[in-house]
Subunit: 161 residues, 2 copies
Protein backbone atom coordinates (compact mmCIF):
# COMPACT_ATOMS: atom_id res chain seq x y z
CA UNK A 1 0.00 0.00 0.00
CA UNK A 2 1.43 3.31 -1.08
CA UNK A 3 -1.18 5.97 -0.44
CA UNK A 4 -0.80 9.72 -0.22
CA UNK A 5 -2.72 11.74 2.32
CA UNK A 6 -6.31 12.63 1.45
CA UNK A 7 -6.96 16.20 0.35
CA UNK A 8 -9.75 18.37 1.59
CA UNK A 9 -10.94 20.03 -1.60
CA UNK A 10 -14.02 18.74 -3.30
CA UNK A 11 -12.21 17.26 -6.30
CA UNK A 12 -9.41 15.29 -4.68
CA UNK A 13 -7.54 12.34 -6.13
CA UNK A 14 -5.66 9.72 -4.15
CA UNK A 15 -3.15 7.66 -6.11
CA UNK A 16 -2.34 4.23 -4.80
CA UNK A 17 -0.58 1.08 -5.95
CA UNK A 18 -0.97 -2.36 -4.45
CA UNK A 19 0.37 -5.79 -5.38
CA UNK A 20 -1.11 -9.13 -4.33
CA UNK A 21 0.56 -12.49 -5.00
CA UNK A 22 -1.26 -15.81 -5.01
CA UNK A 23 -0.27 -19.32 -5.98
CA UNK A 24 -2.86 -21.65 -7.51
CA UNK A 25 -2.37 -25.38 -8.13
CA UNK A 26 -3.78 -25.06 -11.67
CA UNK A 27 -1.66 -24.37 -14.76
CA UNK A 28 -1.08 -20.88 -16.21
CA UNK A 29 -3.29 -21.90 -19.14
CA UNK A 30 -6.16 -22.67 -16.75
CA UNK A 31 -5.73 -19.46 -14.79
CA UNK A 32 -5.47 -17.40 -17.97
CA UNK A 33 -8.68 -18.99 -19.26
CA UNK A 34 -10.48 -17.87 -16.09
CA UNK A 35 -9.66 -14.25 -17.03
CA UNK A 36 -10.32 -14.66 -20.76
CA UNK A 37 -13.53 -16.66 -20.97
CA UNK A 38 -16.71 -14.63 -20.59
CA UNK A 39 -18.82 -17.31 -18.87
CA UNK A 40 -16.04 -18.12 -16.42
CA UNK A 41 -15.38 -14.46 -15.61
CA UNK A 42 -19.06 -13.96 -14.99
CA UNK A 43 -19.11 -16.81 -12.47
CA UNK A 44 -16.23 -15.79 -10.22
CA UNK A 45 -16.10 -12.04 -10.65
CA UNK A 46 -19.64 -10.82 -11.33
CA UNK A 47 -22.21 -13.17 -9.84
CA UNK A 48 -22.83 -13.48 -6.14
CA UNK A 49 -25.58 -13.67 -3.54
CA UNK A 50 -27.49 -10.40 -3.37
CA UNK A 51 -26.12 -9.01 -6.65
CA UNK A 52 -28.53 -8.03 -9.43
CA UNK A 53 -26.73 -7.90 -12.79
CA UNK A 54 -28.13 -5.41 -15.32
CA UNK A 55 -25.40 -5.80 -17.95
CA UNK A 56 -22.28 -7.84 -18.58
CA UNK A 57 -20.58 -7.41 -21.95
CA UNK A 58 -17.08 -8.77 -22.42
CA UNK A 59 -14.80 -8.62 -25.47
CA UNK A 60 -11.41 -10.12 -24.57
CA UNK A 61 -8.96 -8.58 -27.06
CA UNK A 62 -6.65 -5.58 -27.04
CA UNK A 63 -8.93 -2.70 -27.95
CA UNK A 64 -11.96 -4.54 -26.60
CA UNK A 65 -13.38 -4.21 -23.14
CA UNK A 66 -16.03 -4.95 -20.57
CA UNK A 67 -19.11 -3.16 -19.34
CA UNK A 68 -20.67 -4.44 -16.12
CA UNK A 69 -23.65 -2.85 -14.40
CA UNK A 70 -24.93 -4.32 -11.17
CA UNK A 71 -26.43 -3.45 -7.82
CA UNK A 72 -26.22 -5.07 -4.44
CA UNK A 73 -29.12 -5.52 -2.07
CA UNK A 74 -31.30 -2.96 -3.84
CA UNK A 75 -28.59 -0.28 -3.65
CA UNK A 76 -27.51 2.11 -6.40
CA UNK A 77 -26.18 0.82 -9.69
CA UNK A 78 -22.43 0.27 -9.88
CA UNK A 79 -20.91 0.50 -13.35
CA UNK A 80 -17.52 -0.81 -14.46
CA UNK A 81 -16.03 0.07 -17.86
CA UNK A 82 -12.82 -1.80 -18.70
CA UNK A 83 -10.46 -1.68 -21.67
CA UNK A 84 -7.95 -4.44 -22.42
CA UNK A 85 -4.55 -2.83 -22.93
CA UNK A 86 -2.23 -5.80 -23.39
CA UNK A 87 -2.67 -9.57 -23.61
CA UNK A 88 0.09 -12.21 -23.75
CA UNK A 89 -1.63 -15.62 -23.75
CA UNK A 90 -1.07 -17.61 -20.53
CA UNK A 91 1.32 -14.91 -19.24
CA UNK A 92 -0.07 -11.39 -18.97
CA UNK A 93 -3.31 -9.39 -19.02
CA UNK A 94 -3.33 -5.61 -18.62
CA UNK A 95 -6.56 -3.64 -18.42
CA UNK A 96 -7.72 -0.20 -17.42
CA UNK A 97 -11.10 0.32 -15.83
CA UNK A 98 -13.21 2.98 -14.25
CA UNK A 99 -15.96 2.52 -11.70
CA UNK A 100 -18.93 4.71 -10.90
CA UNK A 101 -21.75 4.41 -8.38
CA UNK A 102 -24.86 5.99 -9.79
CA UNK A 103 -23.73 9.23 -11.49
CA UNK A 104 -20.63 9.56 -9.27
CA UNK A 105 -17.20 8.49 -10.66
CA UNK A 106 -15.32 6.46 -8.04
CA UNK A 107 -11.99 5.53 -9.56
CA UNK A 108 -9.86 4.75 -12.58
CA UNK A 109 -7.28 1.99 -12.42
CA UNK A 110 -4.65 0.17 -14.42
CA UNK A 111 -4.34 -3.51 -13.52
CA UNK A 112 -1.59 -5.93 -14.52
CA UNK A 113 -2.09 -9.68 -14.03
CA UNK A 114 1.14 -11.66 -14.47
CA UNK A 115 1.16 -15.47 -14.57
CA UNK A 116 4.31 -17.53 -14.16
CA UNK A 117 4.70 -21.29 -13.73
CA UNK A 118 5.28 -22.40 -10.13
CA UNK A 119 5.88 -26.15 -9.97
CA UNK A 120 2.74 -27.64 -11.51
CA UNK A 121 0.78 -24.52 -10.64
CA UNK A 122 0.79 -20.80 -11.22
CA UNK A 123 2.07 -17.79 -9.38
CA UNK A 124 -0.27 -14.87 -10.02
CA UNK A 125 0.94 -11.32 -9.39
CA UNK A 126 -1.87 -8.77 -9.40
CA UNK A 127 -0.78 -5.12 -9.50
CA UNK A 128 -3.34 -2.32 -9.44
CA UNK A 129 -2.34 1.30 -9.95
CA UNK A 130 -5.37 3.39 -9.08
CA UNK A 131 -6.68 6.93 -8.91
CA UNK A 132 -9.51 7.28 -6.38
CA UNK A 133 -11.79 10.28 -6.78
CA UNK A 134 -13.31 12.68 -4.29
CA UNK A 135 -13.32 10.32 -1.31
CA UNK A 136 -16.06 8.14 -2.83
CA UNK A 137 -14.04 4.94 -2.64
CA UNK A 138 -10.86 4.05 -0.79
CA UNK A 139 -7.72 2.41 -2.05
CA UNK A 140 -7.68 0.19 1.00
CA UNK A 141 -11.20 -1.03 0.29
CA UNK A 142 -10.20 -1.83 -3.28
CA UNK A 143 -7.27 -3.93 -2.13
CA UNK A 144 -9.47 -5.83 0.32
CA UNK A 145 -12.11 -6.36 -2.37
CA UNK A 146 -9.46 -7.66 -4.76
CA UNK A 147 -8.22 -10.17 -2.16
CA UNK A 148 -11.77 -11.46 -1.96
CA UNK A 149 -12.00 -11.76 -5.75
CA UNK A 150 -8.75 -13.73 -5.90
CA UNK A 151 -10.21 -16.10 -3.30
CA UNK A 152 -13.28 -16.48 -5.53
CA UNK A 153 -10.95 -17.20 -8.47
CA UNK A 154 -9.32 -19.98 -6.46
CA UNK A 155 -12.72 -21.52 -5.71
CA UNK A 156 -13.72 -21.27 -9.39
CA UNK A 157 -10.49 -22.99 -10.47
CA UNK A 158 -11.15 -25.84 -8.04
CA UNK A 159 -14.72 -26.29 -9.30
CA UNK A 160 -14.14 -26.18 -13.04
CA UNK A 161 -11.98 -28.60 -14.99
Amino acid sequence: MNQSAPEKDEHSVIHSTFTIERTYPQSPERVFHAFADKATVRRWRIEGDGFAIAEFSFDFRVGGGEVSRFSYGGGPEVRLDAQFQDIVPDQRIVFSYRMAVGPQPMSASLTTVELTPSGDGTRLTYTEQGAFFDGVDSAQGREEGTRGLLEALGAELQKSK
Copy 2:
Protein backbone atom coordinates in the same frame (compact mmCIF):
# COMPACT_ATOMS: atom_id res chain seq x y z
CA MET B 1 10.23 7.83 -9.24
CA ASN B 2 9.21 4.53 -7.76
CA GLN B 3 10.55 1.78 -9.97
CA SER B 4 11.00 -1.88 -9.23
CA ALA B 5 14.02 -3.80 -10.48
CA PRO B 6 13.86 -5.06 -14.07
CA GLU B 7 13.22 -8.75 -14.53
CA LYS B 8 15.14 -11.02 -16.83
CA ASP B 9 12.37 -13.06 -18.37
CA GLU B 10 11.07 -12.21 -21.80
CA HIS B 11 7.70 -10.91 -20.64
CA SER B 12 8.64 -8.57 -17.83
CA VAL B 13 6.64 -5.62 -16.53
CA ILE B 14 8.05 -2.66 -14.63
CA HIS B 15 5.50 -0.62 -12.69
CA SER B 16 6.36 2.98 -12.02
CA THR B 17 4.66 6.13 -10.81
CA PHE B 18 5.92 9.66 -11.30
CA THR B 19 4.48 13.06 -10.48
CA ILE B 20 5.47 16.37 -12.08
CA GLU B 21 4.25 19.77 -10.89
CA ARG B 22 4.25 22.90 -13.03
CA THR B 23 2.84 26.38 -12.55
CA TYR B 24 1.61 28.32 -15.58
CA PRO B 25 0.59 32.01 -15.58
CA GLN B 26 -2.61 31.22 -17.50
CA SER B 27 -5.95 30.39 -15.85
CA PRO B 28 -7.18 26.82 -15.18
CA GLU B 29 -9.76 27.39 -17.93
CA ARG B 30 -6.98 28.12 -20.44
CA VAL B 31 -4.86 25.17 -19.37
CA PHE B 32 -7.85 22.82 -19.43
CA HIS B 33 -8.70 24.01 -22.95
CA ALA B 34 -5.19 23.06 -24.09
CA PHE B 35 -5.94 19.45 -23.07
CA ALA B 36 -9.52 19.44 -24.36
CA ASP B 37 -9.35 21.14 -27.76
CA LYS B 38 -8.26 18.89 -30.60
CA ALA B 39 -6.43 21.52 -32.67
CA THR B 40 -4.57 22.82 -29.61
CA VAL B 41 -3.58 19.32 -28.47
CA ARG B 42 -2.29 18.57 -31.93
CA ARG B 43 -0.04 21.65 -31.87
CA TRP B 44 1.73 21.11 -28.56
CA ARG B 45 1.61 17.37 -28.12
CA ILE B 46 1.67 15.78 -31.59
CA GLU B 47 3.36 18.04 -34.12
CA GLY B 48 7.09 18.66 -34.14
CA ASP B 49 10.09 18.87 -36.45
CA GLY B 50 10.87 15.49 -37.93
CA PHE B 51 7.51 13.90 -37.01
CA ALA B 52 5.27 12.45 -39.72
CA ILE B 53 1.68 12.14 -38.49
CA ALA B 54 -0.34 9.29 -40.03
CA GLU B 55 -3.43 9.65 -37.82
CA PHE B 56 -4.76 11.87 -35.06
CA SER B 57 -8.32 11.26 -33.91
CA PHE B 58 -9.51 12.85 -30.68
CA ASP B 59 -12.86 12.58 -28.93
CA PHE B 60 -12.71 14.45 -25.61
CA ARG B 61 -15.43 12.89 -23.46
CA VAL B 62 -15.56 10.10 -20.89
CA GLY B 63 -15.82 6.96 -23.00
CA GLY B 64 -14.12 8.69 -25.92
CA GLY B 65 -10.45 8.57 -26.71
CA GLU B 66 -7.53 9.34 -28.97
CA VAL B 67 -5.65 7.42 -31.61
CA SER B 68 -2.32 8.88 -32.74
CA ARG B 69 0.01 7.22 -35.21
CA PHE B 70 3.26 8.90 -36.11
CA SER B 71 6.89 8.25 -36.95
CA TYR B 72 10.04 10.20 -36.34
CA GLY B 73 12.83 10.62 -38.86
CA GLY B 74 11.68 7.74 -41.04
CA GLY B 75 11.62 5.35 -38.06
CA PRO B 76 8.94 2.79 -37.20
CA GLU B 77 5.37 3.84 -36.55
CA VAL B 78 4.49 4.69 -32.98
CA ARG B 79 0.85 4.25 -32.01
CA LEU B 80 -0.93 5.70 -29.01
CA ASP B 81 -4.46 4.64 -28.02
CA ALA B 82 -5.99 6.67 -25.19
CA GLN B 83 -9.31 6.46 -23.35
CA PHE B 84 -10.71 9.33 -21.28
CA GLN B 85 -11.65 7.96 -17.87
CA ASP B 86 -12.76 11.07 -15.97
CA ILE B 87 -13.23 14.75 -16.81
CA VAL B 88 -14.06 17.58 -14.40
CA PRO B 89 -14.04 20.82 -16.43
CA ASP B 90 -11.16 23.16 -15.55
CA GLN B 91 -10.08 20.80 -12.74
CA ARG B 92 -9.26 17.23 -13.71
CA ILE B 93 -8.59 14.97 -16.68
CA VAL B 94 -7.87 11.26 -16.25
CA PHE B 95 -6.95 9.06 -19.18
CA SER B 96 -5.47 5.64 -19.81
CA TYR B 97 -3.28 5.00 -22.82
CA ARG B 98 -1.15 2.35 -24.38
CA MET B 99 1.78 2.82 -26.70
CA ALA B 100 3.29 0.48 -29.27
CA VAL B 101 6.21 0.82 -31.64
CA GLY B 102 5.48 -1.16 -34.77
CA PRO B 103 3.92 -4.45 -33.60
CA GLN B 104 5.58 -4.28 -30.16
CA PRO B 105 3.55 -3.09 -27.15
CA MET B 106 5.61 -0.66 -25.07
CA SER B 107 3.46 0.39 -22.15
CA ALA B 108 0.06 1.04 -20.63
CA SER B 109 -0.47 4.02 -18.34
CA LEU B 110 -3.02 5.84 -16.26
CA THR B 111 -2.51 9.60 -16.20
CA THR B 112 -4.18 12.14 -13.91
CA VAL B 113 -3.92 15.87 -14.69
CA GLU B 114 -5.08 18.05 -11.79
CA LEU B 115 -5.50 21.82 -12.18
CA THR B 116 -5.82 24.19 -9.22
CA PRO B 117 -5.78 28.00 -9.16
CA SER B 118 -2.44 29.49 -8.09
CA GLY B 119 -2.70 33.27 -7.85
CA ASP B 120 -3.79 34.34 -11.35
CA GLY B 121 -2.33 31.18 -12.80
CA THR B 122 -2.59 27.41 -12.52
CA ARG B 123 -0.76 24.72 -10.67
CA LEU B 124 -0.74 21.56 -12.77
CA THR B 125 -0.04 18.21 -11.12
CA TYR B 126 0.66 15.44 -13.61
CA THR B 127 0.69 11.90 -12.20
CA GLU B 128 1.42 8.93 -14.42
CA GLN B 129 1.05 5.37 -13.17
CA GLY B 130 2.61 3.12 -15.79
CA ALA B 131 3.30 -0.48 -16.70
CA PHE B 132 6.31 -0.81 -19.02
CA PHE B 133 6.58 -4.01 -21.01
CA ASP B 134 9.50 -6.26 -21.85
CA GLY B 135 12.20 -3.61 -21.62
CA VAL B 136 10.98 -1.85 -24.78
CA ASP B 137 10.56 1.53 -23.09
CA SER B 138 11.76 2.85 -19.76
CA ALA B 139 9.84 4.62 -17.04
CA GLN B 140 12.65 7.14 -16.72
CA GLY B 141 12.45 7.97 -20.42
CA ARG B 142 8.70 8.48 -20.10
CA GLU B 143 9.15 10.93 -17.24
CA GLU B 144 11.77 12.87 -19.21
CA GLY B 145 9.54 12.91 -22.28
CA THR B 146 6.63 14.17 -20.20
CA ARG B 147 8.74 17.02 -18.81
CA GLY B 148 9.44 18.02 -22.40
CA LEU B 149 5.73 17.92 -23.25
CA LEU B 150 4.86 20.14 -20.29
CA GLU B 151 7.47 22.64 -21.54
CA ALA B 152 5.77 22.53 -24.95
CA LEU B 153 2.44 23.14 -23.23
CA GLY B 154 3.88 26.24 -21.57
CA ALA B 155 5.07 27.53 -24.94
CA GLU B 156 1.67 26.84 -26.50
CA LEU B 157 -0.10 28.71 -23.68
CA GLN B 158 2.16 31.73 -24.21
CA LYS B 159 1.52 31.74 -27.96
CA SER B 160 -2.24 31.32 -28.00
CA LYS B 161 -4.74 33.68 -26.46
